[in-house]
Symmetry: C2
Subunit: 366 residues, 2 copies
């Protein structure tokens, strides 16, 4: 008989972040600095490949880095187990080794898919994110969450795998459709409401520039959001202590709304904006958020051009979708509430009746 | 412009190991102690399900743990991306949550597949291994390597995910075919040659008991092998510093032999035994291994009933298969050699001509 307890040693993981207008043309030097890789596979989607792949390839080659590329279809459907397996096969075909790296060039879908492939190829190779949507720049590129979707729900399988580097060129937002850029601003408001009151106040002063897509304002939002998010992720990398769950403010309903609509006709950021309106209503009723603070959130969302009323989906179907969320447990669905701006609390179980009432306030059908 | 370096915090990971005859009937209490999970999915294969699933289910239920089960086909083909995705779908169907756990009941194939699914489900849930083959008990259950195979090669995608617990019941080896048990002994010899001279000497004194499948001898081999392997894994969990690569002794040729034969008609342990014979020949020629030590290794392999001569595969095809190994780099294929018993060196590049000559010595066709 033998009884042992093995304690595996800690690992130090380092992520390099660089935000600068025009930096897309320096991606080669950045990849070398962040990962040391002399060979990369760039994963991107059709839309972004047409806009930026040639420039990225040129910069990598100029830095002496060998480049292969995989172009996946645009849109959420690329985040599938089948596409993940196809990436693995492509990496095998390119002979991608342990000291090589994956470069994810695109939005959150490309980042989640390529990051998960990098996390699992040869049990983990370095990856560098070059986010080209506002949503990815302010939120999903930092924190190391990667995933694919299953039929049963979004992001159900995945890995924590911190990128060796995050290179943000705010000028890439110039080619982003206005509605998509606006949706990304929802996550900036979320960072403010959930974890950083000064970011919230700053966004209030910059709302018009942000709504218009002014590069300076957007670059400021990106840098402030990354700093705020990194602080929380550093404290709770794997969502174990609870600190990181604050970032799910607005997301319980947001994810359910997207699911109930089959992920069509509603962008993630738009769904999160609506989720925050409902979460603020619940926070006012249950967590002591002042009516004035709730009104400030809603006014900022209004000024940024984010949606005001829930789309026509039966509430029952949204509640049903929430029950499939990763954040469920046997007793019900947990919500992140905010007692005050910048200070989201740990998630708590909320009865469906209260959720329904709050959804009605935000204009849902019964 | 912003330039940040984020340093993510270390994590402490703990694995509980318990080796005891008859312990299969205590799996319920062990799962609770190791993981605290009140709900598990048992992943097993058809052969093992027929032998042990009812007993495992009973023990889990008696401990108050809810049990679902997924039975996969027996054999290496179950380690596929498609089977991995099917496991994720099954976990979704069972509503497996973050505090629940996966139990892998079976050999190395089941462990690799179920462990990878646990590593990636909801970005990682706890898993417990209950290995039922000697190969899995002495080697693959400890160390946290999980993977699936691709068309391009074995174990190409996977994750490091330490199990919360490893429960070994040496009595399960009684139902193992003799040829499969013998193959598992190759990894015991490997641990001795590569990292633990005292384990090697102990195996020399127990060779007849081990070859006959005596439970005491096998239990001793399992405990000693796990201790030896854990020491190396603790020093180099992710194969970064080089210490862990010692465990690949015999595996460069072993993997290539399996690949060249399409993974048929040759067990992993048998391939590793032949790989060690060739590696010892190279070690004698290139690393100063004494002819006497090499003869001791080969004599022990003989006494354990492990194969003496390479199967009829053209050497050129084996060399070609080595070039696809994960341990390749641009300059060639790296081999782990042993200057003396128990002290494998870091891998070094070996010219194909020398490999061919060593293979001929072990009876290969040109």
């Amino acid at each position: 008989v033998a009884d042992l307890i093995l304690r595996y040693p800690p690992r130090a993981v380092r992520s390099r972040v660089h935000v600068a207008p025009g930096s897309l043309s320096q991606v080669g030097a950045f990849v070398l600095r962040a990962s040391g890789a002399r060979r990369v596979v760039v994963v991107t989607d059709r839309r972004v490949a047409g806009l930026y792949l040639a420039r990225v390839r040129r910069s990598l080659r100029a830095a002496g880095v060998m480049v292969d590329a995989v172009v996946v279809p645009s849109g959420e459907r690329a985040k599938s187990p089948a596409r993940l397996a196809a990436l693995w096969d492509a990496f095998a075909g390119f002979g991608l080794g342990r000291r090589d790296a994956v470069v994810a060039l695109g939005g959150g879908v490309v980042g989640d898919l390529a990051g998960f492939a990098a996390a699992t190829w040869l049990r983990g190779v370095p990856w560098i994110v070059v986010p080209t949507t506002l949503l990815a720049q302010v939120d999903s590129s930092v924190g190391g969450k990667t995933a694919v979707d299953l039929a049963a729900g979004k992001n159900l399988s995945g890995a924590f795998h911190q990128p060796a580097g995050v290179l943000v060129d705010p000028e890439t937002l110039d080619t982003l459709p206005r509605w998509q850029r606006r949706a990304g601003l929802a996550e900036v408001v979320k960072m403010g409401m959930a974890i950083d009151a000064s970011l919230f106040r700053w966004a209030e002063t910059q709302a018009e520039g942000l709504a218009r897509g002014q590069t300076d304002a957007l670059a400021g939002a990106v840098t402030r959001s990354i700093r705020a998010k990194a602080r929380v992720v550093l404290a709770d990398e794997r969502e174990e202590t609870g600190a990181r769950t604050a970032l799910n403010y607005g997301h319980t309903l947001g994810h359910a709304l997207e699911a109930a609509r089959g992920y069509r006709g509603l962008l993630h950021g738009e769904a999160v904006a609506l989720g925050m309106r409902v979460a603020a209503s619940l926070s006012e009723r249950l967590a002591g958020l002042s009516p004035e603070s709730r009104a400030r959130q809603d006014a900022l969302l209004d000024r940024l051009g984010l949606p005001r009323r829930l789309p026509p989906v039966p509430i029952a179907r949204v509640i049903e979708a929430m029950a499939h969320d990763k954040k469920r447990d046997a007793r019900g669905v947990r919500w992140v509430l905010t007692p005050r701006i910048g200070h989201a609390s740990v998630p708590r179980l909320i009865q469906h009746g209260l959720v329904t009432a709050a959804c009605r306030e935000v204009g849902a059908r019964v």
